[in-house]
């Protein structure tokens, strides 16, 4: 709501003698004569622009409206033209308000067609208190439910726009960003409910699909949906043979007190005293290319006493403090007659290959180590 604060709601129409004018606006006098003169061509528009969402920026203000035209012989000039719009500051992001404007224009059109709500001078006056309520409630809570008459109610809600999510691969591991119990499970769809128990931050998509007995693509879609709403984030499969390294963000553990507190409580072993910052930071910094998690645990055995290393890695990945180094095999030389490599092209990681072929890491390692034509890149 802070982002899309509505400064004013206005109702504009084409008066048969006076032409385009603002009939009502809340708060009063917000739109100056000057401003309206400048933008009226975008408010009461030519036929070609009717029913389109129009946002115009002028004089430090943004006006969003949807011009409506209802043609009928009963109207003077044979048509009724009006536009119920919103005004915001020019710097506001207004994408979330657009569906609201569109819906409002739809409501008013229906009301006019059903009962002449707007063309009737008496009922038109009801618009003013309606607009006041709308302004207040949308700014306060982002939602508004307002009965207009016996048969019509306005229901509006500001919906936040989110970024498109990543494509979810079968070797990705979904992990909840907050405690699982935080969510009301009955609100989610059936597929998601079925897989929720298996989303533990360690099972990857393929495994969840097998264990929950849900088709792979459905699991993918369900997780992608959770990703869209920020309920889960994706990390990679955990194995003790994995290799990680630090990113510049690891310093946030030192700089940011809230990250520190969150991290230490997340990674401490169950039932143990809280791990200390120094140990945890040393562990993260001990992750370097060439060092496996197993190596880390044996090298820093004292530090790892109060720390659950799996959750340590999980937290580090979720917050971007560390990143996984994946292995990519590339077949650099081959016989002219043999087929071109399908998976050993540098585009598919071990995670992916093992998932697709069912091989274990060890098996894949053995197979590739003995092949002189294949080199492995880590990144």
């Amino acid at each position: 709501m802070g982002m899309s604060r509505i400064e004013c709601i206005f109702f504009s129409e084409f008066h048969p003698t006076l032409g385009p004018k603002i009939t009502y606006q809340v708060p009063e006098e917000y739109i100056s004569r000057e401003l309206f003169d400048t933008v009226q061509v975008y408010i009461i528009t030519k036929p070609e622009l009717q029913n389109k969402l129009i946002t115009v920026t002028a004089m430090e203000k943004k006006l969003i409206g949807c011009p409506v035209c209802i043609e009928h012989k009963k109207y003077s000039r044979n048509a009724l033209l009006f536009n119920l719009g919103l005004v915001c500051d020019a710097r506001t992001k207004t994408c979330a308000l657009e569906p609201i404007v569109k819906k409002l224009s739809g409501y008013l059109t229906t009301l006019e067609l059903e009962s002449g709500f707007i063309s009737n001078e008496e009922s038109k006056q009801k618009l003013l208190p309606i607009m006041s309520t709308l302004l207040e409630e949308l700014n306060a809570t982002g939602a508004c439910t307002l009965p207009i008459d016996e048969s019509n109610t306005i229901n509006l809600k500001l919906i936040e726009q989110r970024r498109d999510p990543l494509i979810v691969q079968e070797y990705d591991v979904p992990v909840f960003t907050q405690c699982k119990d935080h969510f009301i499970k009955s609100q989610w769809d059936l597929t998601t409910q079925q897989i929720l128990a298996y989303v533990d931050g360690f099972r990857h998509i393929q495994k969840i699909s097998a264990e929950a007995d849900v088709e792979l693509n459905l699991v993918r879609i369900a997780v992608q949906n959770l990703l869209y709403y920020g309920v889960v984030t994706l990390v990679s499969i955990f194995q003790y043979s994995n290799v990680y390294c630090t990113t510049p963000k690891v310093q946030s553990l030192i700089d940011d007190r809230s990250v520190q507190a969150e991290c230490l409580s997340y990674v401490t072993k169950q039932g143990q005293k809280r791990a200390c910052l120094r140990d945890v930071f040393q562990l993260y910094c001990g992750l370097t290319p060439g060092t496996t998690v197993r190596d880390l645990c044996s090298r820093y055995s004292q530090q790892v006493q109060r720390v659950d290393e799996r959750r340590l890695i999980q937290y580090g990945l979720m917050k971007g403090l560390i990143r996984r180094l994946q292995k990519y095999p590339v077949k650099v030389t081959r016989d002219e007659r043999s087929r071109p490599p399908r998976l050993y092209t540098g585009c598919h990681s071990y995670d992916e290959i093992c998932c697709k072929t069912g091989m274990s890491y060890k098996e894949l390692d053995e197979r590739l180590e003995n092949d002189p034509n294949i080199i492995v890149c880590w990144k």
């Binding site: 070609e48 389109k52 990543l166 693509n217 992608q224 700089d255 120094r278 290319p289 990144k379």
Partner: protein
């Protein structure tokens, strides 16, 4: 909402061989390209659309007879591909951008884009459904006065009728705000040039007349012959301005670099950073670029992305000689300070020119190449066997393949280690060239060592997070070692620093103070350590190495670097110390220091896109 593909089979994924392996985001190329460019004017003859590109389909041509409501999503029933061979230079997608704008007739565009004069001189932004129009309407003269120049040499002098004009770009509505800003910038630049030429020789009026004449001609022809034509196609060969606008549009859609010569006289140049700075399929936002540029230091180096010759050939004739000198003198092994000396320019100029080259995508900032540099494969590097990079590498360095070279950098490798060739046939100089080649293509990142002071907690309550465990940064005032481009040469931020040692670029504090265990030094050390807690101080003083006053003094002096934000090379530069000195110090005090290696976040922008 998002759209997902439901075909996850291997066949489909074979296509990913040819794309960036890390590109799991939806392609955003369309969001940074304009859909259309439109020129409108307003004058005594009313509002007119002079030119638009790409052309509409013939069937959509403005027809004053039908005023049907056109949905921008309505597909034309006579076919779904634009017939114009030169109307479109990009691939079609099911819902084409052209169709979004094609739904608007010339007349309606003229009405909505040619604004009132009080909107002139400012950014114009209008969004209609899924299309966003951005421009900079420019006033040519006061609407109520018409000036006639008595000294005008042109033969036939008419009363000028044009009051204002606007070059408008149509974009997809979900374009990034920084892209919209850039397009507005370009519109403004073109407007300035046109305004100038109009005042000088009525260039715009003349071109407008030509355009309108062709439009009238074609309309007449349509009415008599009945064969519809696009007037804009006829305008192109006759009007230089139309060709310029088409060129601007085409360039924006492809390279992102626009260079026009309005009236063959005034140059308008512009670059869209979103097209130029693309790493791993994502664009680098200009604000991030600017932030990085402000943070570069004199010890950084400028690495040109083109060869010196190619770059010099791209410069205009009247370019600054300083720029030429810089390009000729710069090298990957020279830092900016040295470059300033060699090119005989002051450091501020070097910074400005370097920033300019980086902005235009002609160079990147790196740490100067030297033996001790440690490089590793970038997480965003394309290591595919079939990538165009692999091919280019094979051509540049015959007999070698890129994946094998990249595999060597799977573990961090210093330049000196890399130069001990396992394979004797490779020459050392060529190895360096390979590294430079890989850096230019963002395949490698450089790792630096960062140090953080973390004292083992006291025995009483080791697990709790008390105030004493607050990192140093919260207690010691942050001293930002800022760069000249911010016009402040290493200005200290706290008055404490003024009395002790201020890092400046050309002198080192180390040598100024008398050596040995003088009372002055001891007091200084004490003051420096005073910012620590009692517990921390105790632990440090108990370290065997702390018994040596020299070592302790050095440690105390460098204390403010031990927050994990300054890498080894920066400390070396600021304090004029040798790498071995620092490494020895770290080793001596290792019980209270935690060391880690990662890329420098300031310049890693050039290797990895922002999350």
């Amino acid at each position: 909402m998002y759209i997902h593909s439901s075909s996850f089979d291997l066949q489909g994924e074979r296509k990913s061989m040819y794309k960036q392996s890390e590109n799991r985001f939806f392609k955003c190329g369309e969001k940074t390209s304009p859909i259309s460019v439109i020129l409108v004017t307003s004058g005594s003859r009313g509002n007119k659309l002079l030119f638009r590109y790409p052309f509409q389909r013939v069937a959509d041509c403005t027809s004053s007879l039908t005023t049907k409501q056109r949905s921008p999503y309505a597909l034309n029933t006579t076919g779904d591909v634009l017939e114009d061979p030169d109307g479109d230079s990009r691939e079609q997608t099911p819902l084409t951008d052209e169709q979004l704008v094609a739904g608007f007739s010339d007349i309606i565009l003229a009405t909505i884009l040619a604004t009132k004069s009080d909107m002139c001189g400012k950014k114009f932004e209008l969004k209609i459904d899924n299309v966003r129009f951005v421009g900079h309407p420019t006033l040519l003269q006061h609407p109520h006065t018409i000036q006639v120049s008595k000294t005008d040499p042109s033969p036939k002098r008419e009363m000028p009728t044009m009051i204002l004009f606007s070059v408008v770009f149509a974009l997809r509505a979900n374009a990034d705000p920084s892209v919209i800003s850039c397009m507005h910038n370009l519109s403004r630049r073109i407007a300035i040039a046109l305004q100038h030429e109009e005042r000088r020789c009525q260039y715009l009026t003349r071109e407008a007349k030509l355009m309108l004449a062709v439009q009238d001609e074609v309309t007449n022809m349509t009415e008599t012959d009945g064969s519809p034509q696009s007037p804009f196609r006829q305008i192109l060969p006759k009007c230089k301005l139309a060709r310029d606008l088409k060129e601007a549009y085409d360039s924006l859609c492809t390279t992102g670099v626009v260079r026009l010569h309005i009236n063959n006289w005034l140059e308008v140049s512009f670059c869209l950073p979103h097209k130029i700075h693309r790493v791993g399929g994502n664009h680098v936002p200009p604000e991030a670029l600017e932030r990085s540029l402000k943070a570069i230091r004199p010890y950084h180096a400028l690495l040109l992305l083109d060869s010196e010759k190619a770059l010099l050939a791209q410069l205009p004739l009247d370019c600054s000689p300083a720029l030429v000198r810089l390009i000729k003198t710069c090298s990957a092994v020279k830092n900016l300070q040295q470059l300033a000396q060699d090119a005989d320019l002051n450091l501020l100029q070097i910074f400005q020119i370097a920033a300019h080259l980086v902005y235009w995508g002609k160079a990147i900032i790196v740490y100067p190449l030297c033996e001790n540099n440690v490089y590793m494969l970038s997480p965003h590097a394309n290591i595919s066997l079939y990538s165009p990079l692999a091919e280019a590498f094979g051509q540049q360095f015959p007999g070698h393949d890129l994946p094998s070279m990249l595999a060597k950098f799977s573990l961090p490798l210093s330049l000196s280690e890399f130069r001990n060739p396992l394979d004797a046939s490779v020459q050392e100089a060529q190895l360096i060239q390979m590294v430079v080649w890989m850096l230019q293509r963002r395949l490698l990142i450089q790792l630096h060592t960062y140090v953080c002071l973390l004292v083992p907690p006291s025995e009483e309550e080791p697990g709790l997070l008390r105030d004493e465990e607050l990192p140093l940064v919260a207690r010691v005032g942050g001293r930002s070692l800022s760069t000249p481009s911010a016009l402040s040469f290493g200005s200290p931020t706290s008055s404490d620093d003024m009395t002790l040692t201020s890092p400046s670029m050309d002198n080192s504090s180390a040598e100024l103070l008398p050596g040995g265990d003088s009372p002055l030094n001891r007091r200084m050390t004490e003051t420096l350590l005073a910012s620590l807690t009692e517990h921390e101080r105790q632990v440090i003083l108990n370290i065997p190495a702390a018994q040596s006053p020299e070592d302790l003094r050095m440690f105390a002096r460098l204390l403010h670097y031990f927050r994990g934000h300054h890498h080894l090379e920066e400390i070396m530069y600021n304090e004029n110390m040798r790498r071995s000195q620092l490494k020895t110090l770290f080793d001596k005090f290792r019980s209270v220091l935690v060391v880690t290696n990662h890329e420098d976040p300031v310049i890693s922008l050039f290797q990895s896109p922002l999350e």
